[in-house]
Symmetry: D3
């Protein structure tokens, strides 16, 4: 059980009601996900958080699948159970396979590991020195 009770849909009024309706309409859902019902004890925060998410997912040039992959990469690094389940479900709805989810995790694996070594040894970055200066650099 969560550490606060949820604000259930039948009890939602005012700003909460308005945001809940927008969540369901925008996402094609019959039920507001638990994350939003948990934070609805603070209606203005609920509204600004939902507005921020819509802004982030609906504007810009990165496609939705890339954004969901970034969500999963961050959530794996932070070990967030809810977020991992939610955003791998979202990735699957976008057609992502088991092999692609593991491929995503292999990248998350490598960089969590190499981050710890780079920071752990206090290695200083030097811009790449290209063999052929007009070529495209590929630093790592």
């Amino acid at each position: 059980m969560a550490l606060v009770p949820y604000v259930e849909e039948e009890d939602a009024t005012g700003v909460v009601r308005e945001v809940y309706d927008d969540i369901k309409r925008t996402r094609g859902l019959a039920r507001v996900p638990a994350f939003w019902r948990a934070i609805a004890h603070r209606p203005e925060y609920l509204r600004s958080e939902w507005t921020k998410l819509r802004t982030i997912l609906e504007t810009g040039t990165l496609d939705r699948r890339t954004k969901e992959m970034i969500a999963v990469a961050v959530s794996a690094t932070n070990n967030c159970d809810y977020c991992l389940r939610s955003h791998t479900d979202a990735l699957r709805a976008l057609g992502t396979t088991d092999a692609e989810i593991v491929e995503l995790m292999s990248v998350v694996d490598f960089f969590n590991g190499s981050n710890a070594v780079s920071s752990g040894l206090r290695i200083e970055y030097e811009p790449p020195v290209l063999a052929e200066p007009d070529a495209q650099p590929d630093p790592a």
Copy 2:
């Protein structure tokens, strides 16, 4: 200065020499990046780390730009200076703009924040309930 001296290219022999040459050839670089020179005090580890990176970046179906974005997302979450500089340079070499780097960070921002709330309130995930069960779900 890093916490260990680097194994410089002129001192590289055996496995280290071989890996250094492969790094420069594969990446089109005139100089081995500092990360690899720092870990070369353990030649077998250097080789397995480089092999793993090549495997992760060169196989699979996710494109290189998506993988570099995941690298930056993980490195921002872990606050790794070397890795952030290295992989935003890589993204720029692939044509990524300032606006796209900030767009990437906006996704990293949202999910680092919502991860902490989801975990902090111990919210339990429930699979999405679709308004129209045959439609594509869009959970969050």
Copy 3:
């Protein structure tokens, strides 16, 4: 089940007995919380940890509720189940409402998110430049 058995109260002797009694007396508890029973395999560590906690909670000018909120903020950032349950119980015992717990989490949300962006873009801090230099600054 925890990864070590607990040192149960009926088996406590010497330093462990003494610390257990102090925990129960100070906290008004009939039973020593699991955290202390788990670490009691190292009696001197148990004592120094308990002494440190008493020092931190019982001295200084910050009130107990603020300290419990900081405990919850840190535990949400680290995703610690035991600590989140323990310290939201403590906050509730001090009269904190559901809306206040979500308000606390909204602050934790914002700063976990903005930390990742600030670090991720390597933004450098500049001291605030006030419109009216004699006014109270309000940097963010």
Copy 4:
């Protein structure tokens, strides 16, 4: 230098101009802090982030100083240089002393440490058992 150039005030138009003006007016600043100038490459994100911060800081029952302490606690746990400098400046502007900043850090210290042990040993939380069931519980 940050990983993206800043959108300077003289180049701000439209939504960015509007948010910059609100930041300066609300905070009494002559200059927009670097965080906002860095993320302004995505104007809609800038607006939703600023709206969220105003909502979080300006509504609710927790006082501003408690919110700034939570900001510092989160930033210390995440090791965010910009955020630590910014929010300890904010705390000082609110009258916080060196001793209180160290007191805050002592709480951050204890719970980062005990989080790792609680999670590390997979200790399971049990609700507190009070010596006098009608008394106020004080779990830890």
Copy 5:
């Protein structure tokens, strides 16, 4: 249930089969641990990860028990359930007692706490100044 199905041993072919056999032979196991069965959806990644682990555990001068303790220290800091269970089992198989596991956690506790304070206050390191310059330094 994990977020991907496992590649079970009866379905393993080619590279996966080869790595599974090496895992069982090297470790004296009748069954491949779940970690490897989960990542086997990407056979080349499975191979490079297993090769890296063998390299890290089987070469060098640090003994196996020290390496398992480092594994547990990292896993406690990251709050990884699978890894904590796996590597405390490994430590017990090497003869480690409950008191030693708590001793290990006490070190993990202290440094997670003091890391947050050192970073949180931006304390700058100064090399130790010895009372007797020819003596062995002992900084902290």
Copy 6:
């Protein structure tokens, strides 16, 4: 510059004086390290923190070098500059070589990476099934 001024030795009185003297005597130092001078604004916290460190380092069965390696592993995972510099200096004073520091980091690398995958895919631990039940298990 740190976010609080240091309590310098010439200004230390009472509890702070006493702890400073014990630090210098125990460690063979001519100067109190910056960490302790920063937290001395809260004398009782200084004392309990120092007592805890002495307890952790001076009691038990793990040797000092193993404890310093755990300190470095935790500090690399948390990216703590002060702590990394301090404890690699300590390791060097105990005779640790560059190759051993990189060996330590290779273990930190592997487990930071595999932690993220194990947590990211919500892999569930199963106790090892030994090929020869009487043999020593070696799970991973």
